[in-house]
Protein backbone atom coordinates (compact mmCIF):
# COMPACT_ATOMS: atom_id res chain seq x y z
CA UNK A 1 0.00 0.00 0.00
CA UNK A 2 1.25 3.48 -0.78
CA UNK A 3 -0.11 6.83 0.37
CA UNK A 4 0.15 8.12 -3.16
CA UNK A 5 -2.18 5.48 -4.60
CA UNK A 6 -4.65 5.87 -1.74
CA UNK A 7 -4.76 9.62 -2.30
CA UNK A 8 -5.07 9.18 -6.06
CA UNK A 9 -8.03 6.84 -5.54
CA UNK A 10 -9.71 9.23 -3.10
CA UNK A 11 -9.15 12.08 -5.55
CA UNK A 12 -10.56 10.05 -8.39
CA UNK A 13 -13.70 9.08 -6.45
CA UNK A 14 -14.28 12.70 -5.44
CA UNK A 15 -13.70 13.84 -9.04
CA UNK A 16 -16.34 11.35 -10.18
CA UNK A 17 -18.71 12.84 -7.62
CA UNK A 18 -17.91 16.33 -8.84
CA UNK A 19 -18.93 15.34 -12.36
CA UNK A 20 -22.28 14.25 -10.93
CA UNK A 21 -23.84 17.36 -9.34
CA UNK A 22 -27.18 15.68 -8.78
CA UNK A 23 -25.66 13.06 -6.50
CA UNK A 24 -23.84 15.80 -4.59
CA UNK A 25 -27.13 17.66 -4.18
CA UNK A 26 -28.83 14.49 -2.97
CA UNK A 27 -26.04 13.80 -0.50
CA UNK A 28 -25.98 17.31 0.93
CA UNK A 29 -29.46 18.75 0.52
CA UNK A 30 -31.65 15.75 1.34
CA UNK A 31 -30.36 15.34 4.93
CA UNK A 32 -30.92 19.07 5.53
CA UNK A 33 -34.46 18.88 4.18
CA UNK A 34 -35.22 15.81 6.28
CA UNK A 35 -33.87 17.48 9.40
CA UNK A 36 -36.07 20.52 8.72
CA UNK A 37 -39.03 18.24 8.12
CA UNK A 38 -38.39 16.48 11.42
CA UNK A 39 -38.24 19.81 13.23
CA UNK A 40 -41.72 20.75 12.02
CA UNK A 41 -43.16 17.27 12.53
CA UNK A 42 -42.39 17.80 16.23
CA UNK A 43 -43.28 21.46 16.14
CA UNK A 44 -45.00 21.57 19.49
CA UNK A 45 -42.76 18.93 21.11
CA UNK A 46 -39.28 20.32 21.15
CA UNK A 47 -38.02 17.70 23.65
CA UNK A 48 -38.80 14.92 21.19
CA UNK A 49 -36.96 16.76 18.44
CA UNK A 50 -33.99 17.21 20.78
CA UNK A 51 -34.05 13.47 21.46
CA UNK A 52 -34.49 12.22 17.87
CA UNK A 53 -32.42 14.76 15.95
CA UNK A 54 -28.98 13.63 17.25
CA UNK A 55 -29.84 10.07 16.25
CA UNK A 56 -30.79 11.17 12.75
CA UNK A 57 -27.62 13.17 12.60
CA UNK A 58 -25.63 9.93 12.70
CA UNK A 59 -28.10 7.90 10.64
CA UNK A 60 -28.00 10.19 7.59
CA UNK A 61 -24.32 9.81 6.83
CA UNK A 62 -24.47 6.10 7.58
CA UNK A 63 -27.36 5.44 5.18
CA UNK A 64 -26.23 7.76 2.41
CA UNK A 65 -22.62 6.54 2.44
CA UNK A 66 -23.79 2.93 2.51
CA UNK A 67 -25.88 3.31 -0.63
CA UNK A 68 -23.43 5.52 -2.51
CA UNK A 69 -20.46 3.29 -1.74
CA UNK A 70 -22.13 0.02 -2.59
CA UNK A 71 -23.37 1.32 -5.93
CA UNK A 72 -20.01 2.94 -6.73
CA UNK A 73 -18.18 -0.29 -5.96
CA UNK A 74 -20.63 -2.32 -7.97
CA UNK A 75 -20.10 -0.04 -10.95
CA UNK A 76 -16.37 -0.49 -10.50
CA UNK A 77 -16.88 -4.22 -10.75
CA UNK A 78 -19.30 -4.27 -13.68
CA UNK A 79 -17.41 -1.69 -15.76
CA UNK A 80 -14.24 -3.79 -15.68
CA UNK A 81 -12.23 -1.00 -14.05
CA UNK A 82 -11.83 -3.10 -10.91
CA UNK A 83 -10.37 -5.91 -12.99
CA UNK A 84 -8.03 -3.44 -14.68
CA UNK A 85 -6.90 -2.06 -11.32
CA UNK A 86 -6.29 -5.53 -9.95
CA UNK A 87 -3.93 -6.25 -12.86
CA UNK A 88 -1.78 -3.24 -11.87
CA UNK A 89 0.77 -3.30 -9.02
CA UNK A 90 -1.80 -1.57 -6.78
CA UNK A 91 -2.58 -3.13 -3.41
CA UNK A 92 -6.22 -3.86 -2.60
CA UNK A 93 -5.86 -1.66 0.46
CA UNK A 94 -5.06 1.33 -1.77
CA UNK A 95 -8.45 1.07 -3.40
CA UNK A 96 -10.42 0.45 -0.20
CA UNK A 97 -8.64 3.12 1.81
CA UNK A 98 -9.09 5.55 -1.07
CA UNK A 99 -12.83 4.96 -1.08
CA UNK A 100 -13.03 5.31 2.69
CA UNK A 101 -11.05 8.55 2.56
CA UNK A 102 -13.12 10.05 -0.26
CA UNK A 103 -16.43 9.31 1.42
CA UNK A 104 -15.10 10.57 4.75
CA UNK A 105 -14.47 13.90 3.09
CA UNK A 106 -18.01 13.86 1.70
CA UNK A 107 -19.31 12.89 5.15
CA UNK A 108 -17.49 15.76 6.87
CA UNK A 109 -19.24 18.23 4.58
CA UNK A 110 -22.59 16.50 4.93
CA UNK A 111 -22.45 16.21 8.72
CA UNK A 112 -21.16 19.75 9.06
CA UNK A 113 -24.02 21.20 7.04
CA UNK A 114 -26.76 19.30 8.86
CA UNK A 115 -25.25 20.12 12.23
CA UNK A 116 -25.00 23.82 11.54
CA UNK A 117 -28.58 23.82 10.31
CA UNK A 118 -29.86 21.82 13.29
CA UNK A 119 -28.21 23.76 16.10
CA UNK A 120 -28.62 27.09 14.29
CA UNK A 121 -31.90 27.88 12.53
CA UNK A 122 -33.70 24.77 13.77
CA UNK A 123 -32.77 25.45 17.38
CA UNK A 124 -31.65 21.96 18.38
CA UNK A 125 -30.60 21.88 22.05
CA UNK A 126 -27.57 19.72 22.57
CA UNK A 127 -26.44 19.27 26.15
CA UNK A 128 -23.28 17.39 25.36
CA UNK A 129 -20.36 18.31 23.19
CA UNK A 130 -20.88 19.05 19.54
CA UNK A 131 -17.41 17.65 18.89
CA UNK A 132 -18.35 14.28 20.38
CA UNK A 133 -21.50 14.15 18.28
CA UNK A 134 -19.58 15.07 15.14
CA UNK A 135 -17.01 12.36 15.85
CA UNK A 136 -19.74 9.77 16.23
CA UNK A 137 -21.41 10.94 13.02
CA UNK A 138 -18.15 10.68 11.07
CA UNK A 139 -17.34 7.24 12.43
CA UNK A 140 -20.82 6.22 11.41
CA UNK A 141 -20.32 7.55 7.89
CA UNK A 142 -17.15 5.47 7.67
CA UNK A 143 -19.03 2.45 8.98
CA UNK A 144 -21.62 2.93 6.23
CA UNK A 145 -18.84 3.16 3.66
CA UNK A 146 -17.00 0.00 4.70
CA UNK A 147 -20.26 -1.92 5.09
CA UNK A 148 -21.24 -0.81 1.58
CA UNK A 149 -17.84 -1.83 0.20
CA UNK A 150 -18.18 -5.25 1.74
CA UNK A 151 -21.81 -5.94 0.85
CA UNK A 152 -21.48 -4.73 -2.74
CA UNK A 153 -19.59 -7.97 -3.42
CA UNK A 154 -22.84 -9.86 -2.90
CA UNK A 155 -24.84 -7.85 -5.41
CA UNK A 156 -24.73 -8.56 -9.12
CA UNK A 157 -26.79 -5.58 -10.22
CA UNK A 158 -27.46 -2.06 -9.04
CA UNK A 159 -31.04 -3.13 -8.34
CA UNK A 160 -29.77 -5.68 -5.84
CA UNK A 161 -27.31 -3.24 -4.30
CA UNK A 162 -30.07 -0.75 -3.62
CA UNK A 163 -32.21 -3.51 -2.07
CA UNK A 164 -29.49 -4.01 0.54
CA UNK A 165 -30.67 -0.80 2.13
CA UNK A 166 -34.00 -2.25 3.32
CA UNK A 167 -32.37 -5.63 3.89
CA UNK A 168 -29.41 -4.55 6.04
CA UNK A 169 -30.06 -1.03 7.21
CA UNK A 170 -33.76 -1.03 8.12
CA UNK A 171 -33.50 -3.97 10.57
CA UNK A 172 -30.64 -2.18 12.30
CA UNK A 173 -32.75 0.95 12.38
CA UNK A 174 -35.72 -0.87 13.92
CA UNK A 175 -33.55 -2.48 16.58
CA UNK A 176 -31.19 0.39 17.34
CA UNK A 177 -33.26 1.79 20.19
CA UNK A 178 -34.85 4.66 18.32
CA UNK A 179 -38.32 3.13 18.31
CA UNK A 180 -38.21 1.13 21.53
CA UNK A 181 -35.58 1.07 24.26
CA UNK A 182 -33.17 -1.80 23.54
CA UNK A 183 -33.39 -3.11 27.09
CA UNK A 184 -37.16 -3.62 26.84
CA UNK A 185 -37.09 -5.74 23.68
CA UNK A 186 -37.70 -9.48 23.56
CA UNK A 187 -34.48 -11.23 24.61
CA UNK A 188 -33.75 -12.43 21.09
CA UNK A 189 -34.28 -8.97 19.63
CA UNK A 190 -32.23 -7.30 22.29
CA UNK A 191 -29.47 -9.83 21.61
CA UNK A 192 -29.70 -9.07 17.87
CA UNK A 193 -29.59 -5.40 18.70
CA UNK A 194 -26.42 -6.02 20.70
CA UNK A 195 -24.56 -7.45 17.70
CA UNK A 196 -25.60 -4.73 15.27
CA UNK A 197 -23.04 -1.97 14.88
CA UNK A 198 -25.66 0.72 14.34
CA UNK A 199 -27.04 0.22 17.86
CA UNK A 200 -23.73 1.39 19.32
CA UNK A 201 -23.60 4.34 16.97
CA UNK A 202 -27.10 5.43 18.01
CA UNK A 203 -26.30 4.94 21.71
CA UNK A 204 -23.16 6.96 21.27
CA UNK A 205 -25.07 9.76 19.54
CA UNK A 206 -27.64 9.89 22.33
CA UNK A 207 -24.96 9.91 25.01
CA UNK A 208 -22.93 12.55 23.22
CA UNK A 209 -25.99 14.75 22.90
CA UNK A 210 -27.29 14.37 26.45
CA UNK A 211 -24.22 14.38 28.64
CA UNK A 212 -21.79 17.25 28.65
CA UNK A 213 -19.03 14.91 29.82
CA UNK A 214 -17.27 12.27 27.78
CA UNK A 215 -18.38 9.22 29.79
CA UNK A 216 -16.80 5.77 29.77
CA UNK A 217 -20.01 4.37 28.30
CA UNK A 218 -19.55 6.74 25.38
CA UNK A 219 -15.96 5.56 24.99
CA UNK A 220 -17.14 1.95 24.83
CA UNK A 221 -19.75 2.71 22.18
CA UNK A 222 -17.30 4.73 20.11
CA UNK A 223 -14.70 1.97 20.36
CA UNK A 224 -17.19 -0.67 19.20
CA UNK A 225 -18.12 1.40 16.15
CA UNK A 226 -14.48 2.20 15.46
CA UNK A 227 -13.51 -1.47 15.72
CA UNK A 228 -16.17 -2.44 13.17
CA UNK A 229 -14.51 -0.26 10.54
CA UNK A 230 -11.27 -2.25 10.10
CA UNK A 231 -13.29 -5.44 10.52
CA UNK A 232 -15.55 -4.73 7.53
CA UNK A 233 -12.67 -3.19 5.58
CA UNK A 234 -10.81 -6.47 6.00
CA UNK A 235 -13.87 -8.46 4.98
CA UNK A 236 -14.25 -6.14 2.00
CA UNK A 237 -10.64 -6.72 0.97
CA UNK A 238 -11.38 -10.44 1.09
CA UNK A 239 -14.10 -10.00 -1.51
CA UNK A 240 -11.74 -8.33 -4.00
CA UNK A 241 -10.52 -11.33 -5.92
CA UNK A 242 -7.85 -10.96 -8.54
CA UNK A 243 -9.11 -14.12 -10.23
CA UNK A 244 -12.81 -14.50 -11.01
CA UNK A 245 -14.76 -17.43 -12.51
Amino acid sequence: MTGQRTLATAGRVLRQLRHDPRTIALMLVVPCLLMTLLRYVYDGQVQIFDHVAPVLLVLFPFTVMFVVTSVAMLRERSSGTLERLLTTPMAKGDLLAGYALAFSVAAVIQVGLVMVLAVGPLGLQIHGGLGALATVALLDALLGTVLGLFLSAFANTEFQAVQFLPAFVLPQLLLCGLFAPRAQMLPILSWLSDVMPLSYAVDAATRAATSSMWTSALTTDVLVVAACIPLFLGLGAGTLRRRTP
Binding site: Q16, L86, T87, M90, T244
Partner: protein, 237 residues
Protein backbone atom coordinates in the same frame (compact mmCIF):
# COMPACT_ATOMS: atom_id res chain seq x y z
CA UNK B 1 12.15 -17.67 -26.14
CA UNK B 2 8.41 -17.90 -25.63
CA UNK B 3 6.55 -14.98 -24.10
CA UNK B 4 3.50 -17.17 -23.46
CA UNK B 5 3.40 -20.89 -22.84
CA UNK B 6 0.09 -22.56 -22.17
CA UNK B 7 -0.07 -26.26 -21.54
CA UNK B 8 -3.12 -28.39 -20.90
CA UNK B 9 -5.20 -25.46 -19.77
CA UNK B 10 -8.68 -26.32 -18.59
CA UNK B 11 -11.21 -23.65 -17.73
CA UNK B 12 -14.76 -24.16 -16.51
CA UNK B 13 -17.10 -21.16 -16.47
CA UNK B 14 -20.57 -21.31 -14.97
CA UNK B 15 -20.50 -25.13 -14.97
CA UNK B 16 -19.53 -25.29 -18.65
CA UNK B 17 -16.16 -26.49 -19.87
CA UNK B 18 -15.02 -23.57 -22.02
CA UNK B 19 -11.42 -24.64 -22.60
CA UNK B 20 -11.14 -28.42 -22.22
CA UNK B 21 -7.40 -28.93 -22.79
CA UNK B 22 -5.64 -26.10 -24.55
CA UNK B 23 -1.93 -25.80 -25.31
CA UNK B 24 -0.21 -23.09 -27.30
CA UNK B 25 2.81 -20.81 -27.33
CA UNK B 26 3.57 -17.28 -28.48
CA UNK B 27 7.22 -16.41 -29.06
CA UNK B 28 8.71 -13.14 -27.87
CA UNK B 29 8.53 -10.07 -30.03
CA UNK B 30 5.86 -11.39 -32.35
CA UNK B 31 2.35 -10.23 -33.06
CA UNK B 32 0.09 -13.21 -32.60
CA UNK B 33 -3.53 -13.07 -33.70
CA UNK B 34 -6.18 -14.97 -31.78
CA UNK B 35 -9.13 -15.74 -34.00
CA UNK B 36 -12.22 -17.83 -33.76
CA UNK B 37 -15.99 -17.70 -33.85
CA UNK B 38 -17.93 -15.90 -31.18
CA UNK B 39 -18.01 -17.99 -28.02
CA UNK B 40 -14.98 -20.07 -29.00
CA UNK B 41 -13.12 -19.01 -25.85
CA UNK B 42 -10.82 -16.18 -27.00
CA UNK B 43 -11.65 -13.89 -24.10
CA UNK B 44 -11.43 -16.78 -21.65
CA UNK B 45 -7.93 -17.72 -22.88
CA UNK B 46 -6.84 -14.08 -22.72
CA UNK B 47 -8.18 -13.74 -19.18
CA UNK B 48 -6.28 -16.85 -18.14
CA UNK B 49 -3.05 -15.46 -19.64
CA UNK B 50 -3.34 -12.14 -17.79
CA UNK B 51 -4.18 -14.01 -14.59
CA UNK B 52 -7.72 -12.83 -13.91
CA UNK B 53 -9.47 -16.07 -14.87
CA UNK B 54 -9.88 -18.86 -12.35
CA UNK B 55 -8.55 -21.98 -14.04
CA UNK B 56 -9.38 -25.60 -13.23
CA UNK B 57 -5.99 -27.04 -14.20
CA UNK B 58 -3.06 -26.60 -16.51
CA UNK B 59 0.10 -24.56 -16.57
CA UNK B 60 0.48 -21.02 -17.86
CA UNK B 61 3.81 -19.30 -18.08
CA UNK B 62 4.01 -15.64 -19.07
CA UNK B 63 7.41 -13.98 -19.63
CA UNK B 64 8.91 -16.89 -17.75
CA UNK B 65 6.70 -16.56 -14.67
CA UNK B 66 3.45 -18.26 -13.71
CA UNK B 67 0.48 -16.28 -15.07
CA UNK B 68 -0.89 -13.87 -12.50
CA UNK B 69 2.39 -13.46 -10.58
CA UNK B 70 2.73 -10.09 -8.87
CA UNK B 71 5.95 -9.35 -10.86
CA UNK B 72 3.94 -9.56 -14.08
CA UNK B 73 1.63 -6.71 -13.10
CA UNK B 74 4.20 -4.18 -14.29
CA UNK B 75 5.03 -6.09 -17.46
CA UNK B 76 1.70 -7.13 -18.94
CA UNK B 77 -0.83 -4.72 -20.41
CA UNK B 78 -4.41 -5.92 -20.85
CA UNK B 79 -7.19 -4.32 -22.83
CA UNK B 80 -10.58 -5.84 -22.11
CA UNK B 81 -13.14 -6.44 -24.84
CA UNK B 82 -15.47 -3.77 -23.46
CA UNK B 83 -13.55 -0.60 -22.61
CA UNK B 84 -12.81 -0.51 -18.88
CA UNK B 85 -12.46 3.16 -18.07
CA UNK B 86 -14.49 5.59 -15.95
CA UNK B 87 -17.27 7.13 -18.02
CA UNK B 88 -17.73 10.02 -15.60
CA UNK B 89 -14.13 11.20 -15.83
CA UNK B 90 -12.34 12.93 -18.69
CA UNK B 91 -9.79 11.14 -20.86
CA UNK B 92 -6.90 12.81 -19.06
CA UNK B 93 -8.35 12.21 -15.58
CA UNK B 94 -8.76 8.52 -16.39
CA UNK B 95 -5.21 8.13 -17.65
CA UNK B 96 -3.67 10.19 -14.85
CA UNK B 97 -5.37 7.93 -12.33
CA UNK B 98 -4.31 4.70 -14.05
CA UNK B 99 -0.76 6.08 -14.35
CA UNK B 100 -0.55 6.56 -10.58
CA UNK B 101 -2.01 3.14 -9.91
CA UNK B 102 0.44 1.55 -12.35
CA UNK B 103 3.32 3.43 -10.74
CA UNK B 104 4.14 5.42 -13.88
CA UNK B 105 5.26 9.07 -14.01
CA UNK B 106 2.40 11.39 -14.96
CA UNK B 107 4.43 12.65 -17.93
CA UNK B 108 3.54 9.37 -19.66
CA UNK B 109 -0.11 10.46 -19.85
CA UNK B 110 0.38 13.09 -22.56
CA UNK B 111 2.46 10.63 -24.59
CA UNK B 112 -0.15 7.86 -24.66
CA UNK B 113 -2.90 10.38 -25.46
CA UNK B 114 -0.88 11.38 -28.53
CA UNK B 115 -0.18 7.74 -29.38
CA UNK B 116 -3.88 6.90 -29.64
CA UNK B 117 -4.67 10.25 -31.36
CA UNK B 118 -6.99 11.57 -28.66
CA UNK B 119 -5.24 14.92 -28.14
CA UNK B 120 -8.26 16.95 -29.17
CA UNK B 121 -10.54 15.04 -26.81
CA UNK B 122 -8.34 14.86 -23.72
CA UNK B 123 -10.67 17.08 -21.68
CA UNK B 124 -13.85 15.33 -22.77
CA UNK B 125 -15.75 13.08 -20.42
CA UNK B 126 -15.37 9.47 -21.56
CA UNK B 127 -19.14 8.86 -21.47
CA UNK B 128 -19.46 11.43 -24.24
CA UNK B 129 -17.01 9.67 -26.55
CA UNK B 130 -17.87 7.34 -29.42
CA UNK B 131 -17.31 3.61 -29.02
CA UNK B 132 -14.05 3.68 -30.96
CA UNK B 133 -12.75 6.66 -29.01
CA UNK B 134 -13.57 4.97 -25.74
CA UNK B 135 -11.76 1.84 -26.91
CA UNK B 136 -8.68 3.97 -27.56
CA UNK B 137 -8.79 5.41 -24.02
CA UNK B 138 -8.83 1.85 -22.73
CA UNK B 139 -5.87 0.97 -24.98
CA UNK B 140 -3.99 4.08 -23.87
CA UNK B 141 -4.37 3.02 -20.24
CA UNK B 142 -2.79 -0.35 -21.06
CA UNK B 143 0.10 1.35 -22.89
CA UNK B 144 0.97 3.55 -19.89
CA UNK B 145 3.49 1.28 -18.14
CA UNK B 146 5.28 0.40 -21.43
CA UNK B 147 4.51 -3.31 -21.00
CA UNK B 148 6.62 -6.15 -22.42
CA UNK B 149 3.50 -8.09 -23.34
CA UNK B 150 0.28 -6.54 -24.57
CA UNK B 151 -2.83 -8.66 -24.57
CA UNK B 152 -5.57 -6.96 -26.50
CA UNK B 153 -9.12 -8.29 -26.74
CA UNK B 154 -10.59 -6.94 -29.99
CA UNK B 155 -8.87 -3.55 -29.70
CA UNK B 156 -9.84 -2.24 -33.13
CA UNK B 157 -13.59 -2.85 -33.05
CA UNK B 158 -15.46 0.25 -34.15
CA UNK B 159 -12.42 1.98 -35.62
CA UNK B 160 -12.29 3.37 -39.12
CA UNK B 161 -9.67 2.03 -41.58
CA UNK B 162 -7.35 5.02 -41.11
CA UNK B 163 -7.22 4.67 -37.32
CA UNK B 164 -6.94 0.93 -37.57
CA UNK B 165 -3.95 1.33 -39.88
CA UNK B 166 -2.38 3.77 -37.41
CA UNK B 167 -2.83 1.39 -34.50
CA UNK B 168 -1.42 -1.54 -36.42
CA UNK B 169 1.58 0.59 -37.39
CA UNK B 170 2.01 1.32 -33.69
CA UNK B 171 1.75 -2.38 -32.79
CA UNK B 172 4.40 -3.26 -35.40
CA UNK B 173 6.63 -0.45 -34.22
CA UNK B 174 6.39 -1.67 -30.60
CA UNK B 175 6.91 -5.27 -31.69
CA UNK B 176 10.10 -4.10 -33.38
CA UNK B 177 11.29 -2.99 -29.94
CA UNK B 178 10.64 -6.45 -28.55
CA UNK B 179 7.08 -6.11 -27.26
CA UNK B 180 4.99 -9.24 -27.71
CA UNK B 181 1.37 -8.94 -28.79
CA UNK B 182 -1.57 -11.27 -28.46
CA UNK B 183 -4.50 -9.68 -30.26
CA UNK B 184 -7.92 -11.20 -30.66
CA UNK B 185 -9.96 -10.10 -33.61
CA UNK B 186 -13.03 -10.77 -35.64
CA UNK B 187 -11.83 -8.84 -38.65
CA UNK B 188 -10.14 -11.13 -41.09
CA UNK B 189 -8.17 -8.47 -42.91
CA UNK B 190 -6.43 -7.90 -39.59
CA UNK B 191 -5.27 -11.48 -39.48
CA UNK B 192 -3.02 -10.61 -42.40
CA UNK B 193 -1.10 -8.16 -40.26
CA UNK B 194 -0.21 -10.78 -37.64
CA UNK B 195 2.95 -12.81 -37.83
CA UNK B 196 1.30 -15.84 -36.35
CA UNK B 197 -2.32 -16.94 -36.09
CA UNK B 198 -4.06 -19.05 -33.49
CA UNK B 199 -7.46 -20.23 -34.56
CA UNK B 200 -9.82 -21.41 -31.81
CA UNK B 201 -12.97 -23.42 -32.21
CA UNK B 202 -15.01 -24.59 -29.24
CA UNK B 203 -12.10 -24.04 -26.90
CA UNK B 204 -9.55 -26.00 -28.93
CA UNK B 205 -6.69 -24.79 -31.12
CA UNK B 206 -7.68 -25.56 -34.68
CA UNK B 207 -4.61 -24.03 -36.27
CA UNK B 208 -1.37 -22.40 -35.17
CA UNK B 209 0.50 -21.14 -38.21
CA UNK B 210 1.66 -18.10 -40.15
CA UNK B 211 -0.86 -16.49 -42.51
CA UNK B 212 1.06 -17.80 -45.54
CA UNK B 213 1.08 -21.35 -44.19
CA UNK B 214 -2.65 -21.21 -43.58
CA UNK B 215 -3.36 -20.10 -47.12
CA UNK B 216 -1.16 -22.78 -48.53
CA UNK B 217 -2.46 -25.64 -46.39
CA UNK B 218 -6.09 -24.79 -46.94
CA UNK B 219 -5.52 -24.02 -50.63
CA UNK B 220 -7.43 -20.77 -50.19
CA UNK B 221 -7.02 -17.43 -51.90
CA UNK B 222 -7.58 -15.36 -48.78
CA UNK B 223 -7.61 -15.84 -45.01
CA UNK B 224 -11.36 -15.46 -44.73
CA UNK B 225 -11.85 -18.45 -47.00
CA UNK B 226 -9.09 -20.33 -45.17
CA UNK B 227 -10.83 -19.81 -41.82
CA UNK B 228 -14.21 -20.79 -43.14
CA UNK B 229 -12.76 -24.00 -44.51
CA UNK B 230 -11.00 -24.74 -41.24
CA UNK B 231 -13.98 -23.91 -39.07
CA UNK B 232 -16.30 -25.98 -41.16
CA UNK B 233 -13.74 -28.76 -40.81
CA UNK B 234 -13.32 -29.26 -44.51
CA UNK B 235 -9.60 -29.49 -43.96
CA UNK B 236 -7.49 -30.02 -40.89
CA UNK B 237 -3.92 -29.21 -40.14
Amino acid sequence: MNAIEVSHLRVVRGGRVVLPDLSCTVSSGTIAGLLGPSGSGKTTLIRAIVGVQRVASGHLSVLGKPAGSPELRRLVGYVTQTPSVYGDLTVRENLAYFATMAGVASSAVADVIETVSLGALSSTQVAQLSGGERARVSLAAALLPSPKLLVLDEPTVGLDPVLRQELWDLFHQLAGKGVTFLISSHVMDEADRCQRLLLLREGAVLADATPAELLQRTQSADLEAAFLRLIEAEVSI
